[in-house]
């Protein structure tokens, strides 16, 4: 279904909501990528088939699971291997993992399986082909894995607090796609109905890995886990800096994601609220409050923020009845109150309101993907481009890159497994090789050199070829107002965790558990439907603001 609904109200100001402080407060919505996958699974009700299960008593071996989606078969090939405790690390620089996975396009034959079993455990050092769509690996949550097996085997109670706290049996530390290490290019399958929205192959991979982890622990425990426990157990993920540059290197895709979300929000703010929707809004507001109560993390700063959001959420919705939501203008007033309290509670309000209006939101799913790249209009007058900078990113005028704090940090790629890192310019080596995440600095330099220029852009760029990228990005921004993060990513205050949070919320992640300003753990599909529930049509999606 293509989205044809008119947008009734202006969207939020991009110069406010594209700041990292706001992006770093994002929550998952109906447009999050795992929600899109689950809607399709629940709509099509495919049967997940376990075609191979060759696992020894210690849980080492391999399995193959096949599912048909959008008229196409996809298979997860899962391989497990022994791993010494000292080799178990979530860092990119790890070289061994408890489990490795490939999402195969179709049903793999014996030769495909042999090839994948040989290469998948090697991960980045392996070699993959055009039938391999995604590559992933995962490590066990050792304490939860063993505790659940022990409880199941001894008939004692499951460690509910620990299950709530951790939320998964295994956590992935990378899910590669789009041509990496020889995998299929996304262009090759992006036209398929089930793969049109962003990251659908990756989301399917993770949902199948979740099923595999349930199957593996039941194999080891020798009995089936309770359904409710399986629903609770999602898949963990450790995410570091590797995810951050994506938002900078895909400006038009970033625009599409945010434009869809903002369009949905604008539609909802002035929508008529029926009695049924009012009841739903009321119930979801309570669910959010419970979710916030259950969300606790070890990091003191993050925990303080969660506690503050709990209070703010109470301040926003306390005392409101379903009848109140039906009064015209109520949702807009609630948003304005939330906006004035904090970015977290404002983004929470967006996620809450949009959740109750599937007919206004879900059609935007078709607009999330964006295969285009910024193009230069070389006939634009240079003065128009400079005016565009001032109009669309006014903060550039105030940035002083001669100031030490303004460019205190630099992004680079380490020789060690090509791991992205953030360096301190004053102390760390490698600033001369920094990665091009200095968009604000390049915009600032472009603006300075455009001063007084009366040529067409092509003439300016012949004299200043170094500004070609900034000029192209700025033109893209003038037409796609959400395509740039409106912050200087070199600033002493920049925290990459905000970029990670935004992208992970777009994925549909919950239980953000920041471990530093550089990386976080999250959970995917916790509360999500199980494969047998999908197949028999009884599935319900409880991944949004899950409560247990």
């Amino acid at each position: 279904m293509k989205d044809l609904t008119q947008t009734p109200a202006p969207l939020r100001d991009p110069n406010r909501i594209m700041r990292l402080s706001q992006m770093g407060a994002a929550f998952p919505t109906r447009l999050s990528f795992l929600r899109i996958l689950l809607r399709r699974l629940m709509d099509e009700k495919p049967q997940l088939r376990e075609t191979i299960w060759d696992m020894d008593d210690a849980g080492f071996g391999y399995g193959v699971f096949t599912i048909a989606l959008g008229g196409q078969d996809y298979s997860l090939v899962a391989i497990t291997q022994p791993l010494a405790p000292e080799d178990r690390t979530d860092r990119v620089i790890a070289e061994k993992w408890d489990a490795a996975f490939v999402l195969f396009d179709g049903i793999p034959g014996p030769e495909d399986i042999a090839r994948i079993r040989k290469n998948a455990p090697l991960q980045e050092a392996g070699r993959f082909g055009p039938k391999d769509l995604c590559l992933s690996r995962a490590n066990k949550s050792v304490r939860l894995f063993d505790a659940i097996i022990n409880a199941q085997q001894t008939g004692t109670a499951f460690p509910e607090d620990e299950i709530r706290k951790v939320g998964y049996l295994m956590r992935t530390t990378a899910v590669y796609g789009n041509g990496k290490f020889g995998l299929a290019d996304r262009d090759d399958y992006a036209g398929r109905p089930a793969m049109m929205a962003p990251f659908q192959a990756e989301m399917l991979t993770v949902w199948l890995i979740r099923h595999f982890t349930h199957r593996l622990i039941e194999h080891l425990a020798g009995a089936a886990l309770p359904v409710q426990l399986r629903r609770t157990l999602g898949i963990g993920n450790s995410t570091g800096l590797g995810m951050a540059p994506f938002l900078v290197s895909h400006p038009l895709l970033l625009h599409s994601w945010v434009a869809c979300r903002e369009t949905a929000f604008a539609r909802v703010l002035d929508a008529d609220v029926t009695p049924e929707v009012a009841v739903d809004l009321h119930a979801n507001a309570s669910q959010i409050a419970t979710h916030l109560e259950e969300w606790n993390v070890p990091d003191p700063k993050a925990q303080t923020s969660i506690e503050s959001t709990r209070q703010h959420w109470h301040d926003v919705v306390a005392g409101l009845s379903p009848r109140d939501f039906q009064q015209p203008g109520t949702l807009r007033r609630i948003w304005e109150t939330a906006r004035d309290l904090s970015p977290e509670v404002e983004e929470l309000a967006l996620a809450w309101m949009t959740e109750s209006f599937p007919e206004l939101v879900d059609g935007l799913t078709d607009c999330l993907a964006n295969p285009f790249r910024p193009q230069l209009d070389v006939t634009m007058p240079s003065a128009e481009l400079r005016a565009g900078i001032d109009a669309h990113w006014p903060a550039i005028q105030d940035l002083d890159f001669d100031c030490k704090d303004t460019c205190a940090q630099f992004w680079y790629v380490s020789e060690a497994k090509q791991e992205p890192r953030l360096g301190q310019r004053a102390t760390d080596p490698g600033a001369e090789l920094e990665s091009p995440l200095d968009v604000a600095r390049r915009m600032s330099r472009l603006r300075a050199d455009l001063a007084g220029c009366e040529d067409a852009l092509w003439q300016f760029l012949l004299r200043h070829p170094e500004h070609r990228d900034a000029a192209r990005r700025m033109q893209a921004l003038m037409a796609n107002v959400f395509s740039e993060i409106r912050d200087n990513l070199l600033d002493v205050e920049t925290a990459p965790i905000d970029m990670l949070r935004f992208k992970l919320a777009m994925f549909g992640a919950t239980k953000f558990d920041p471990k530093s300003s550089l990386w976080t753990r999250i959970t995917l599909f916790s509360g999500g439907p199980l494969a047998d529930e999908i197949a028999d049509g009884t599935a319900q999606d409880h991944t949004w603001m899950p409560v247990f």
């Binding site: 860092r91 990119v92 070389v378 060690a416 760390d428």
Partner: protein, 170 residues
């Protein structure tokens, strides 16, 4: 070996950045060679990336002197698209690379007596990303060039990476 279009684009982008090309020009070259596999393009590209950078180009009566194919062709293509030109580059031995970049930019590039002639296209050339067969030797060369943008690790930077200090396994 067969490489995905994305692999080819990324390794070329990094190799061009390692050479010192500005980001946009590196992107243009990378996208061009991943969209159209002109025979000989990777051998030529590696040769250019291993050669020293020439002095700034000059243009006189449509003749372009000291043009660097990777650095200057995107800008000259802009000029052609804006109605300036045609231009003739005094360049030899880089026909495959120049043709790829020109087609990606939407202009025509043909050999002529004085070098390479850049002018508007009569008909657009289809550019489709697809897997590319590239010999292992060329791939290794590109990897070496791409490695120039990697920062050697030190004990200190290793300990400051994301996830460092991790000792709990949940």
């Amino acid at each position: 070996m067969s490489r995905s279009a994305n692999e080819v684009e990324m390794i070329t982008l990094k190799a061009c950045r390692g050479f010192g090309l500005p980001l946009a020009q590196a992107q243009d070259v990378a996208q061009a060679v991943s969209c159209q596999s002109v025979p000989g393009v990777f051998g030529e590209l590696i040769e250019i990336l291993n050669a020293p950078v020439c002095k700034p180009m000059t243009v006189s009566d449509g003749l372009v002197f000291d043009a660097h194919i990777l650095r200057d062709l995107p800008g000259l293509a802009d000029a052609v698209l804006a109605g300036a030109g045609p231009f003739v580059l005094q360049a030899t031995g880089s026909v495959a690379v120049a043709t790829s970049i020109a087609h990606w930019a939407g202009i025509s590039c043909t050999e002529c007596e004085l070098g390479l002639r850049l002018e508007p296209q009569v008909a657009p050339v289809e550019m489709t990303r697809c897997r590319v067969a590239i010999c292992d030797a060329h791939w290794r060369d590109l990897e070496q060039l791409a490695a120039k943008i990697l920062v050697p690790e030190t004990d200190e930077t290793r300990l400051s990476g994301a996830g460092a200090g991790l000792n709990d396994n949940d």
